[in-house]
Amino acid sequence: MKKRGGQLEYHLMMAPGMIFLIIFSFIPMGGLVMAFQDYVPAKGMLGSEWVGLENFKYMLEIPDSMKILRNTVVIAVGKIIAGTIVPIIFALLLNEIRLKWAKKSIQTIVYLPNFLSWAVLAAVFINVFDYHGPVNNFLQGLGYDPILFLGSNEWFREIIIATDVWKGFGYGAIVYLAALTGIDPGLYEAASIDGANRFKKLLHVTLPGILPTIMLISALNLGNILNAGFDQIFALYNPIVYETADVIDTYVYRVGLIGQQYSFATAIGLLKSVVSCVLILSANELSKKLANMRIF
């Protein structure tokens, strides 16, 4: 009886999270049936006509499907890679700073952009990459012609990735800084005695020390491979760069909400979820094998 009571407390603590999950994640899953219907809001899910795999078939028919998938993966992978490497390098550099107050204030400053929404940052970046903005002024100073960055299919993805990394690297570095403090100082002393210089210590003590963390974070990120970041792209893109910038989420938004094709948009969303699920499961296997860590 006593034992049970103890259990109950934990269950109660978990309850709000579970209720949240059920209301916002499990119940809406019922709406997935729309993917197999010709959904008409007035008729509801029970009254709409069933069309089988029609919506999925159309997905393969439209010429943009591959383009959108490719854009999504390219942007997401770029973000994952750059978003992993940059924070690590930054954390390592910051870790070498001796002055405590400088270290703390730099950490706080680079952490700040993480709290700004893309709606605000987009306005800033639109001005930064303007024809008459600082970047183009700099280029013109060097004798180059100005570039319409946000209207250029050559530059758009790079800008999306770079600005996303800029926004998030301070936040990302925190985890690595925490991992760095967990490394046994004795190892550094031993390395010094063996005659290792700073770079050697970095290579042979620090990096192996935070490797499990790097593996874990990267594995978790794999689930995001189809999330290229809707709010950022939506705030910055335009029809000229649809070719390189249109990703699954922006496409679903335009088709589903603007074009009111609820069924088709649901079908795309469902496909995306299935692929993401497979990726997360394989990431779990991968991290189990490589870092001997399970996510779940």
């Binding site: 509801g44 029970l46 946000l150 088709v255």
Partner: protein, 549 residues
């Protein structure tokens, strides 16, 4: 959870209703008998005994009714009671848009219609096919006031045609009056500074724009002056700001419209004329005459307000927005409207918009179908003119009330803007008593008088009232237009799934061609892809839909 139960209940109700609807539809060979007397059938004839009619009431998002009034009992319903002896009851009250549409579809599915309600074009067709609504042909003739008839007639029959099936008038439509021609707005102060003449043709316009960007009359600094601002949609958005339609039309290009060409229905964005017109815009973009950043521009208004831009296309009301803000920022600016035409004659070609927005229908077995035209006549004619000083309604408006009328059918003359100009102008010239102007026009009239007293000292609001009502509307009223009527405004079956993608294709292609990322021959590739990915099927469906009508 409550919502869920409701929706389940609603759905089961509806499936039941479909069956009920069918059964009641089949046995209705007899037409509705009119019970009203000859006197009562007259537009403003008063009933001896109160007639109660049930409506599906559409409401604004936030109810704005003076204290103590409801949608069933307010200044308007009391007016109708006094003049016609009719009283409305609301079967349902729902917000405009989706909420209202849902109530209507449930009513239709269950076969339990209110006596009068508003529906869209596809629901109207469904109701006609299922024989659920009354034929209004005779009633329209007997119970509509002359003024309302004149309003409908000002659309050359296009408004009532949309509601006519097999020669029978099945609904009264709300009308949408003309908002074109849009015109070219230019910085007159810049033109004066550079000694430029008013442009009459597209080539004239090119000269003005070239002078603007090369000589920088606004002192914005080299390369900062923008010639023509342009919306990312480029064209085809009826009566909107920043469209290039005025240029496209000189090529007979009507993008985003279903038009008839050589007896066939075509989508305006795919014609050879549009290819040519886009070529012209691409040429201008290359020369720097069009905003080089229009593709990524988030606020065109900012360019105009900050004084960087020298030209844009906009309708007559654009002095109110965004020029009013520009004038507030810099009192010395002078924007003036011009009409550019192909041959410089001032006569232009322009496409028209859908003349109707929604349709009011009467339930088939309702004993008093004449209530609809009578109420419309009372509200849109008698109350607007003869009874314009009816105190309860004046108070209702003063207290910020909105949409008290049980039937929100909007009908106006197609040339309402030109009429507005004529009325205000007559009042300004002392030919018309300002007190006889509508409330809106009266307030414009006062501002215009303020402007005319001393144009140099007038504030931005007085300036924009004058520029829009007296200059813009005058130019619009005086411009001869060869109208091209698009032949289809609805949605076909395949459009539902494929239209969003086709629109994307279109937006992308237009923009790439104009900005020079793709050369003009890419247009053919675009048309080809457009046709292959659903465009040609949809074109066939549209042709079919027109034939049915």
């Amino acid at each position: 959870m409550k919502k869920k139960i409701f929706s389940i209940a609603a759905v089961s109700l509806m499936s039941f209703g479909v069956l009920a609807g069918c059964s009641s539809g089949s046995d209705s060979a007899a037409t509705t008998k009119i019970v009203a007397t000859k006197e009562e059938l007259k537009p403003f004839g008063k009933y001896k005994e109160t007639v109660t009619y049930v409506v599906g009431k559409s409401t604004p998002g936030i109810a704005k009714l003076p204290k103590g009034q409801t949608y069933e009992d307010n200044a308007y319903t009391r007016y109708l009671k006094e003049t016609l002896n009719v009283q409305s009851k609301n079967k349902f009250e729902a917000k405009d848009g989706d909420a209202y549409k849902q109530k209507v579809s449930m009513a239709v599915a269950s076969g339990d219609l209110p006596d009068i309600m508003a529906v869209d074009a596809s629901t109207l067709r469904q109701l006609v096919d299922n024989d659920m609504i009354a034929d209004l042909t005779d009633i329209y003739k007997s119970s509509t006031s002359d003024q309302i008839k004149a309003m409908y007639d000002s659309y050359d029959g296009r408004a009532l045609d949309a509601a006519t099936f097999d020669g029978k008038l099945m609904a009264l439509p709300s009308t949408q009056n003309a908002n074109v021609p849009t015109m070219l707005w230019l910085r007159k102060d810049w033109m004066d500074k550079l000694g430029l003449e008013a442009p009459k043709t597209v080539d004239d316009m090119e000269k003005v724009l070239t002078a603007f960007i090369q000589q920088d009359p606004g002192g914005n600094g080299k390369g900062n002056t923008v010639g023509l601002t342009l919306s990312p949609s480029i064209g085809g958005m009826y009566g909107s700001l920043f469209q290039a339609d005025n240029i496209l039309q000189t090529y007979n290009s009507f993008p985003r419209q279903w038009i008839e060409k050589d007896g066939k229905v075509v989508y305006g964005s795919t014609t050879a004329e549009t290819k040519q017109a886009l070529g012209k815009l691409a040429d201008w973009y290359k020369k720097g005459l069009i905003d080089p950043q229009f593709a990524v521009r988030k606020s065109i208004e900012d360019l105009i307000i900050s004084g960087q831009a020298g030209a844009y296309f906009g309708p007559w009301w654009t002095p109110d927005y965004p020029l009013n803000s520009a004038k507030q920022k810099n009192a010395n600016i002078d924007w003036q409207p011009y009409i550019i035409s192909k041959d410089g004659s001032g006569t232009i070609t322009a496409y028209t918009q859908n003349p109707v927005s929604e349709f009011y229908v009467v339930r088939k077995d309702f004993k008093h179908p004449e209530v609809l035209p009578k109420v419309v006549s009372a509200l849109s004619d008698k109350l607007r003119n003869e009874d314009r000083n009816y105190q309860p309604v004046v108070d209702f408006i003063k207290e910020g009330g909105d949409r008290g009328a049980p039937i929100n059918l909007m009908v106006n003359f197609n040339d309402a803007t030109a009429q507005m100009y004529k009325n205000i102008n007559a009042a300004v010239n002392g030919e018309k008593d300002p007190a006889t102007l509508s409330l809106d026009d009266q307030s414009s009239y006062e501002k215009i008088q303020g402007y005319l007293k001393d144009p140099a000292k007038a504030d931005a609001n007085q300036w924009s009232a004058y520029m829009s009502r007296m200059v813009g509307a005058k130019l619009m009223a005086g411009t001869k237009v060869n109208e091209v009527h698009p032949v289809f405004f609805g949605q076909t079956k395949s459009m539902k799934l494929k239209w969003a993608n086709l629109t994307k294709l279109e937006d992308e292609a237009f923009m790439k061609i104009v900005t020079g990322q793709k050369d003009i021959n890419y247009f053919d590739t675009f048309v080809d892809t457009w046709n292959k990915t659903g465009g040609s099927d949809i074109t066939k469906e549209v042709a079919e839909a027109i034939k049915q009508k």
